[in-house]
């Protein structure tokens, strides 16, 4: 017998190993465990991240505090009657100015004799709403533009991406400042500036995802099986591409809140005197030498707590949606 009996390939054949009998057993054994929906799996993973859940709880509490701080009226109808804040945030002179924290005023009073506690509670409305609205609008602008750029390609892609490149050259805050300078201050102008600066991140992200996903094998396979473009987009491209965007958006709420506070601090945000956390810190800066720490500590603490919580949630969302990615491909503060 030669040393390599299989030198002449194909000469061996196995007889007798007939697979038909075992089919039943094998099929039964291979009876699949039901596959769970990806979103449900993500939610289960998210729930396991204690820090993220804690962050979500904090945000929920802050949101509730903001809503129930003072009554809300819509066209004369009192929609929300609860007033958790003991005093009117705008009412000045209700107490002596610059009183340190006490039972009556847990966060003390500011330079105008206003209750800091009420102002911090109420201030949540501005920060949270700016954060959510600005990010939502930025998504509405950025995602379609980026998706179109990625899917259509060609000169449409080129144009949008050149615009994105140019806008990227401006630091976030500097550009926002410039826009405020041009268009003026106020709630919606502030939101507008933040949206104008914020959409580019999503556009780039989704464009990259769409481009990447379109090339993946499972998309090619779907196409080979005859699936229509729309179906491919809906069932394969979008669900996979949307995940990083969700993560980025979550983290960006924090960035936006920080930026809005920064603009408020610089005096470029809402009307001076508004009970917005950043603006409150601006006043604190002016009177620093007096040593009235409570005017600075509490509003800043609110911002810190909110941004920390949202970052924890964002991290949790990222780990839930893409547990293998330990890479921080999502840029937090930009």
């Amino acid at each position: 017998m030669p040393r390599n009996p299989l030198d002449g390939r194909g000469r061996l054949r196995v007889r007798g190993f007939e697979s038909d009998d075992a089919d039943g057993d094998a099929e039964a054994a291979a009876a699949t465990t039901p596959t769970t929906d990806r979103w449900r799996r993500a939610w289960t993973r998210f729930r396991r991240d204690h820090a993220a859940v804690a962050g979500l709880a904090v945000i929920a509490v802050m949101a509730l505090l903001a809503v129930f701080a003072r009554p809300i009226e819509v066209s004369g109808v009192v929609v929300q009657p609860v007033a958790l804040a003991p005093y009117d945030p705008g009412a000045s002179g209700i107490a002596p100015a610059y009183r340190p924290p006490s039972l009556a005023h847990p966060f003390g009073t500011d330079w105008a004799g206003r209750d800091v506690f009420s102002r911090v509670l109420y201030g949540g409305r501005y920060s949270l709403s700016i954060g959510v609205i600005a990010v939502s609008l930025a998504l509405l602008v950025g995602v379609p533009l980026g998706a179109v750029a990625g899917y259509v390609g060609g000169w449409v892609d080129e144009t949008i991406m050149r615009l994105v490149d140019v806008l990227y050259a401006f630091p976030f805050l500097v550009l926002a400042i410039a826009l405020v300078a041009v268009f003026g201050q106020g709630f919606w102008k502030l939101v507008g500036a933040l949206v104008a600066v914020g959409w580019i991140g999503y556009a780039r992200l989704i464009r990259g995802e769409v481009l990447g996903v379109s090339e993946r094998d499972y998309v090619l396979a779907a196409r080979a099986l005859g699936a229509s473009d729309r179906r491919i987009l809906r069932r394969h491209v979008v669900p996979n591409a949307i995940a990083p965007v969700i993560v980025q958006a979550t983290l960006n709420v924090g960035t936006v809140v920080l930026s809005a506070a920064a603009l408020g601090f610089l005096g470029l945000g809402l009307q001076p005197g508004t009970a917005e956390w950043g603006s409150m810190l601006s006043a604190g800066r002016d009177t620093l030498v007096g040593g009235e720490w409570w005017v600075t500590v509490f509003p800043g603490l609110a911002v810190f707590l909110f941004v920390l919580s949202i970052n924890l949630v964002g991290d949790g969302v990222r780990d839930a949606l893409d547990p293998d990615a330990d890479t921080d491909t999502y840029r937090e503060a930009r």
């Binding site: 805050l173 500097v174 400042i177 601090f265 610089l266 620093l288 040593g291 330990d326 890479t327 921080d328």
Partner: protein, 315 residues
């Protein structure tokens, strides 16, 4: 292609971006209600002759393309015009403040780099340990802290309550010891968020590298762990760090604007904010243009550094 050709190519590619930046900056001012003339005339007597002279100075009767080109050629000669609030040239005002911001930003960048990167490496190598978890928490806190709040708190603590530091910068040359001593708090404040970011991103980069097959192969060759980490993993992680560092430039510029206000540091940031409140638009335009150019140049340098570090790129 060789490194030189790559550098050339990348440089050429940034020119359109710089062009776009200039167009945008120019256009921004054009979007203002009214004209620059109106703003100048806030501070001066509005005679018809003055108006005409100003209109001519700002080329307001030319078609917009011409206005842009004339403005651009001025800019390229570093002539940004005169300030609205005074007669001084914008260029002079900027030149006065630029070094202050550079020193502040530079110090902050160094702190961020020297603190953030090693921490990130250690955290990744000692993954899952107390050191790792601890640094993660600290980094998270660092990113979430509004830098102006941190600055104010530090000033309150060291400047007011402990009386260890002055609350405003000393009247002394930039590089004098008193000035540099004053710089400690602001650069620490400014560098904190960046350091936190560097920590997180370095940790990710190193963790990612540790998962690569070549690390296991290196160990299989009998290399000791220190060589594997320092010689192989770090070198490969550097490319990610460089990219992050470039992005930090923009981030630091943003932060400088705010920190300069907190510490009354006479840099470009303070100039910008004051100019906006005073409607001094030539200054706003110039500073924004300068800052954006700096970011573009920083990114270009980062790209070149990246190519130099990773032999696969220039291939």
């Amino acid at each position: 292609m060789s490194l030189r050709r790559y550098v050339l190519r990348r440089t050429l590619l940034t020119l359109p971006i710089l062009l776009g930046v200039s167009v945008l900056t120019f256009g921004l001012v054009k979007l203002l209600p009214g004209t620059p003339v109106d703003y100048v005339l806030q501070f001066q007597e509005a005679t018809p002759e003055l108006r005409a002279a100003l209109r001519a100075q700002y080329h307001l009767d030319e078609p917009i393309w011409n206005q842009y080109l004339l403005w651009l050629s001025d800019v390229l000669h570093l002539d940004f015009g005169d300030r609205v609030v005074s007669d001084r040239s914008v260029t002079a005002a900027i030149a006065e403040r630029l070094p202050e911001t550079l020193v502040l930003g530079g110090a902050a960048f160094l702190i961020a780099l020297l603190v953030g990167v090693p921490t990130g490496v250690v955290a990744a190598v000692r993954r899952g340990t107390f050191l790792d978890e601890g640094s993660r928490i600290v980094a998270l806190a660092g990113i979430a802290t509004p830098n102006f709040w941190l600055g104010l708190l530090l000033l309150l603590l060291f400047g007011v309550h402990l009386d260890l530091a002055p609350v405003i910068p000393p009247v002394a040359p930039l590089l004098a010891p008193e000035s540099l001593a004053f710089l400690v708090l602001p650069s620490l404040t400014l560098g904190t968020a960046s350091a936190a970011l560097f920590t997180r991103l370095t940790r990710s980069a190193v963790t990612e590298q540790l998962r690569q097959e070549y690390v296991r192969a290196a160990r299989a060759r009998g290399l000791d762990e220190r060589t594997v980490i320092v010689k192989h993993v770090l070198r490969n992680s550097l490319v990610s760090v460089v990219t992050v560092a470039a992005v930090q430039i923009a981030f630091l510029l943003d932060g400088a604007v705010v920190i300069e206000r907190v510490f009354s540091w006479p840099g470009l940031g303070r100039l910008l904010v004051r100019a906006i409140l005073q409607r001094d638009f030539p200054v706003v335009q110039a500073v924004v243009l300068l800052v954006a150019t700096a970011v573009v140049v920083a990114n270009l340098l980062a790209d070149v550094l990246y190519a130099w570090l990773d032999p696969r790129i220039t291939y």
